[in-house]
């Protein structure tokens, strides 16, 4: 099941081969020369990254390479020490998760970041509840919306009354994804989106990513495993020791070359080297 889906995607890639991403305008988001350190350790050191509408950028690197930290700066969870974030060519002020959401930046965290003790609808609308005219929670309206969006993502989902603790890993994942796309996200960050999923659910996520691309949403896929994301991405960016090793269009590099970037920090010919590239 999984292999057919992956083959489909690969077929799509070979027929087109060039990505038809329009990179003429300003990028959807650009992170420029971002640094952050925790107690003297440079978790991210002068990293730059950009993303265009309808593009899927895979951010790769070992555990501890700084990719999650970099992306948490974009989603407002961490405050950067230096650097700029530009959204659609304009300087953006992002100092907390609420700011990021105001710019249409939505994040699906590796931990999913769900409140386990409340139900799916409460999680979908957490921080952005629908209220009645009397200023009380409109649970019925929220459940109705939840049923709509979950019906699109996971038609078999029926457990709207149970706390999300009781749900399976895949169901929890679809709740987290639903929360991210419910509010017209323009930029979607997915941190290890398929790490906890079975083959069937992984294929579902792949389908979803293709669908979101059509809607001109830009997507960051973060992973330490190249196999998870290589076939889904238009571009790969590799980080090592808090620095960007380099970036390349996925069609210009092979998996082995990208692995070389991840493990050795060695930039192949098809890639644009970054500050973290191995000097030889």
């Amino acid at each position: 099941m999984m292999s057919t889906t992956m083959d489909d995607i690969r077929d799509g890639g070979t027929t087109g081969h060039t990505d038809n991403i329009d990179r003429a305008g300003p990028p959807l988001v650009a992170m420029e020369d971002i640094s952050i350190s925790f107690g003297g350790i440079h978790a991210v050191d002068g990293a730059s990254l950009d993303l265009y509408p309808g593009e899927v950028v895979a951010l790769l690197g070992h555990n501890g390479a700084g990719k999650s930290t970099l992306i948490k700066i974009l989603s407002g969870a961490y405050k950067r020490d230096s650097g700029e974030i530009m959204v659609r060519g304009e300087r953006a002020t992002i100092s907390n998760p609420r700011d990021a959401k105001a710019y249409g930046i939505e994040t699906i965290y590796q931990t999913l970041a769900l409140a386990d003790n409340v139900d799916a609808a409460a999680n979908l609308f957490l921080g952005r509840e629908i209220m009645t005219p009397f200023g009380t929670l409109d649970d019925a309206a929220m459940e109705a919306e939840a049923r709509k969006v979950m019906g699109r993502l996971n038609p078999n989902f029926k457990r709207f009354k149970e706390p999300v603790r009781a749900l399976s890993g895949g169901q929890r994942q679809s709740v987290a994804i639903a929360r991210a796309i419910l509010f017209n996200a323009k930029i979607l960050i997915m941190d290890e989106p398929t790490a906890a999923l079975g083959p069937q659910e992984t294929a579902q996520v792949a389908d979803l990513i293709k669908e979101l691309k059509k809607e001109e949403i830009g997507i960051f896929l973060i992973s330490h495993d190249i196999h998870d994301v290589f076939d889904l991405s238009d571009r790969v960016v590799v980080m090592k020791n808090g620095q960007v090793v380099g970036s390349a269009k996925t069609s210009d590099v092979t998996k082995d070359e990208v692995l070389g970037m991840i493990i050795l920090g060695k930039c192949p010919a098809g890639a644009t080297p970054g500050p973290g590239a191995m000097k030889d």
Partner: protein, 437 residues
């Protein structure tokens, strides 16, 4: 859409299996934990009734029980939210003590001279000042916990000493009597009860409210085509809750003013005393109504407001709440401010009941409050708990205590029993949770 037709049997996990009783519970949506608590309460009541030779389940004792529960019960509703956010408040007994003292001193030294004896402004100003003090004390502790990052256990442990000391210090150890008669109504007693007629009015309003709520909930669910309870279950839950209201009203109305008090009442109101004496009912005590009112408001806050939703989300996963854009620090501070205000309400009740403020007022109440919340199903791991459960928990704790007093048990033995019951109750709850999960 097809869910609507199949009614109560939509939940796929349990459909088909389960005994008749389980299906019954599912259809009526009765919380099994609450059912267990009511069961435990009934066992305690009947047990004491038998052991005490028939003095426990009397209108008089049950009425007293309701008044005694009010003060700790009011605080337990706030303690639920504190514990749900993975915090604890050890200072509530001392905050009760200091706010009670502030109210008594302000009333006797400022408000009564300022407005005149028994002027309505006296009790209004007294309560207003009390609530503000509670809010400020709780807010201050909340600020230190949320924004300065000191664990709530330490902050409120400090508060336990600080506020008890403050109460002692302002009053120089004296007992301060309160003078305003209207304020004393908050404490219950014959003047602080509403009588038979008003008790029935309240009962009818409550039943009408229950009916309205049931109809409204059903209409909401139909509007969005969600599954609804079967009709018989709607009627049954309504009948049970309305029946409970009627029984409670009958009990408080069956408690009659003792002879001399009734005679004085008749004289004061110009009623002729008929043959065989007057039958004047106490009816609901004002502090009990206040307790129930606080419970309703707190349930509303917990379940229907954004603040309540955030409190539970923070308890379930603080990091997720933060990432969802919730200002978790502000919510935490507000929870403690609310707790402080509830301690002040409890202080008003207990000060009015004792008609004076003392140093020792509220001593150990923090432990009874926490115990009530925990017995009522509030999880110390955070994220789970109900206001109604804590209110029942307070009633269970108080029933145990007054039952043992009624049996003439010695104080050390009482403490041993209460302590042991707390541990056993939480153990049972842990077992229940493991099985439910």
């Amino acid at each position: 859409m097809s869910d609507v037709a199949s009614g109560g049997a939509v939940r796929p996990k349990t459909a088909g299996g389960g005994s008749g009783f389980k299906n019954f519970l599912r259809a009526t949506e009765i919380d099994t934990r609450m059912l267990g608590m009511v069961g435990a309460l009934l066992v305690i009541w009947v047990g004491f009734h038998i052991l005490s030779g028939g003095t426990f389940l009397t209108p008089r004792n049950l009425w007293n029980l309701s008044v005694q529960t009010a003060s700790v019960g009011v605080m337990a509703t706030g303690m639920v939210l504190v514990i749900v956010t993975r915090n604890i408040d050890l200072s509530v007994g001392s905050v009760l003590g200091v706010t009670g003292m502030i109210m008594a001193i302000a009333q006797t030294t400022w408000f009564t001279p300022m407005f005149g004896f028994d002027n309505p402004m006296v009790w209004i100003a007294t309560i207003g000042l009390g609530l503000l003090s509670g809010l400020a004390i709780g807010g201050l502790q909340g600020f230190v916990i949320a924004y300065m990052g000191v664990p709530s256990f330490i902050v409120t442990l400090g508060g336990l000493l600080v506020w008890r000391g403050a109460a002692w210090w302002v009053a120089s150890g004296r007992t301060i009597p309160i003078t305003d008669d209207t304020f004393k109504i908050l404490g219950g007693g014959s003047d602080g009860s509403i009588g038979a007629t008003w008790s029935w009015v309240i009962a009818i309003v409550a039943i009408a409210f229950l009916a309205l709520a049931a109809v409204n909930a059903r209409r909401q669910r139909k509007r969005f085509h969600f599954p609804v309870k079967p009709m018989w279950a709607e009627y049954l839950t309504f009948a049970l809750s309305a029946g409970a209201v009627v029984v409670a009203t009958l009990i408080v109305n069956a408690y009659l003013l003792p002879g001399p008090l009734a005679a004085r009442y008749a004289q004061a109101n110009g009623i002729a005393v008929p043959e065989g004496g007057l039958a004047i009912s106490f009816g609901y005590a004002v502090p009990v109504l206040l307790f129930i009112g606080v419970g309703i408001v707190m349930t509303f806050v917990a379940r229907r407001t954004r603040f309540g939703r955030y409190v539970f989300a923070i308890g379930g996963n603080p990091e997720a709440a933060e990432l969802a854009g919730i200002n978790t620090k502000r919510v935490t501070m507000m929870v403690f401010a609310l707790m402080g205000m509830l301690a002040a309400i409890a202080a008003a009740i207990s000060t009015a009941r004792l008609t004076s403020a003392t140093n020792a007022q509220g001593t150990l109440d923090e432990l009874y409050t926490i115990a009530a919340a925990v017995i009522g199903g509030t999880s110390l791991a955070g994220g789970a708990g109900t206001i109604a459960g804590a209110m029942l928990g307070a009633l269970v704790m108080q029933s145990l205590q007054s039952g043992m007093v009624l049996l003439g048990m010695d104080t050390p033995l009482q403490n041993i029993v209460v302590g042991a019951v707390l541990v056993v109750a939480v153990w049972l709850d842990t077992v229940y949770r493991k099985r439910a999960a």
